[in-house]
Amino acid sequence: MRKFVITTVTVLALAGVAACNRAEAPAANDANAEAEDNGGVAGTIRARQANFKEMARASKTIGDQLKARNPSVEDIQASAVVLADHAPRILTWFPAGSGPESGVRTRAKAEIWTNQEGFGEAAARFIATTEEFSTIVGTGDVAAIRVAQADLGPSCRNCHDRFRAPEEE
């Protein structure tokens, strides 16, 4: 009986959380789908979010491999390519009108467009870091890759901290 009570409480609690999540998701999609009809801005925003997500996946793969006992240099290399390929395109993902004023859910701050110089510099730093990282990954030297990886995170955050709004609750 005691076990039953505990299990019931846990299941109900988890179900409650799951229900909250489900309730939130469609609303956001609807908002974006509606905005897409007003000139494709939603598509632009969705595409850039997907691109950043690919970079996040690549970053995690690199970190995971470097945590492993025998890191796969091939996996790291594939992820380094994703980062180096995406980095130079970042500036093209933020056309005028794709900021918070679009009415689409985006965490891109207006500062991206009001401080284009600063945004450009942050992007340039990231491009340089990913290029350098790719070069070092090419050597296959895991110790050197580990050292170079330490520069990747700060280079990402440099832009996120200034040009990305915090997550909504």
Partner: protein
């Protein structure tokens, strides 16, 4: 309430240290997560993992009032307690036990989920996140984030119950958790403590596991 209340040993020192450690740690974990300070959140989360592990061990080998087998009661005792038909003792009452178990379960889930969580940029992650894909880790992270609300609600209930006891029942429960001795009706079975070596072994096991999880050893 009986008028012949006296102070008797209620909570052993390890249980009190655990309690007040998490009182400090939970707001810190919440704050560091809100601020995106994963450099602080992850070590603090691993410390929480160690503390919880300690509490689970203490729930089996610790002092009587910390033991699950002693304080977790079945529905009959619960009904008797709610109906005011039970003999008041020291430690958790049958209803409070449910609250404690609920908090411990949610905290354990939180710590467990945190081990597999990743920040949205794939840059900072829990010590076991490399065992799952980015997408799985992201889903677990969302659950980790949302489950905090349930934890906060349970804590609010816990604090509300303590305030209720203080104001309505004129019984200060905080004091016992601070100094160990609490008011109890005359004749109530006090805490049956355990030898100190129980604490050293539990702390060594839990601390060792946390250090191992944190990659220190």
């Amino acid at each position: 309430m009986t008028s012949t209340a006296e102070r008797v040993p209620t909570w052993d020192l390890p249980t009190r240290i655990f309690h007040w450690s998490i009182v400090l740690l939970i707001p810190f974990l919440w704050w560091s997560a809100e601020e995106g300070r994963m450099d602080l959140h992850i070590p603090a989360g691993i410390a929480m993992f160690g503390l919880l592990l300690f509490r689970l061990i203490w729930g089996v080998f610790g002092g009587s009032t910390a033991r699950f087998a002693v304080f977790v009661k079945g529905p009959r005792a619960l009904r008797a307690h709610i109906g005011g038909r039970s003999i008041p003792g020291v430690g958790h009452n049958p209803l409070g036990a449910l609250s404690v178990i609920a908090m411990l379960i949610v905290l354990a889930l939180q710590a467990g989920l945190g081990l597999f969580a990743t920040d949205e940029d794939g840059l900072a992650s829990g010590p076991l996140a490399h065992l799952v894909s980015y997408d799985v880790s992201e889903a677990l992270t969302e659950l980790h984030h949302d489950l905090f609300n349930l934890l906060a609600a349970l804590i609010a209930l816990h604090v509300a119950a303590i305030i209720f006891y203080l104001i309505v029942r004129r019984r200060n429960l905080v004091r016992a958790m601070l100094v160990g001795d609490g008011e109890a009706p005359a004749g109530a079975q006090p805490l049956r403590p355990v030898p100190i070596w129980h604490f050293w072994i539990a702390a060594a096991v839990a601390g060792g596991a946390a250090l191992w999880m944190g990659g220190v050893v």
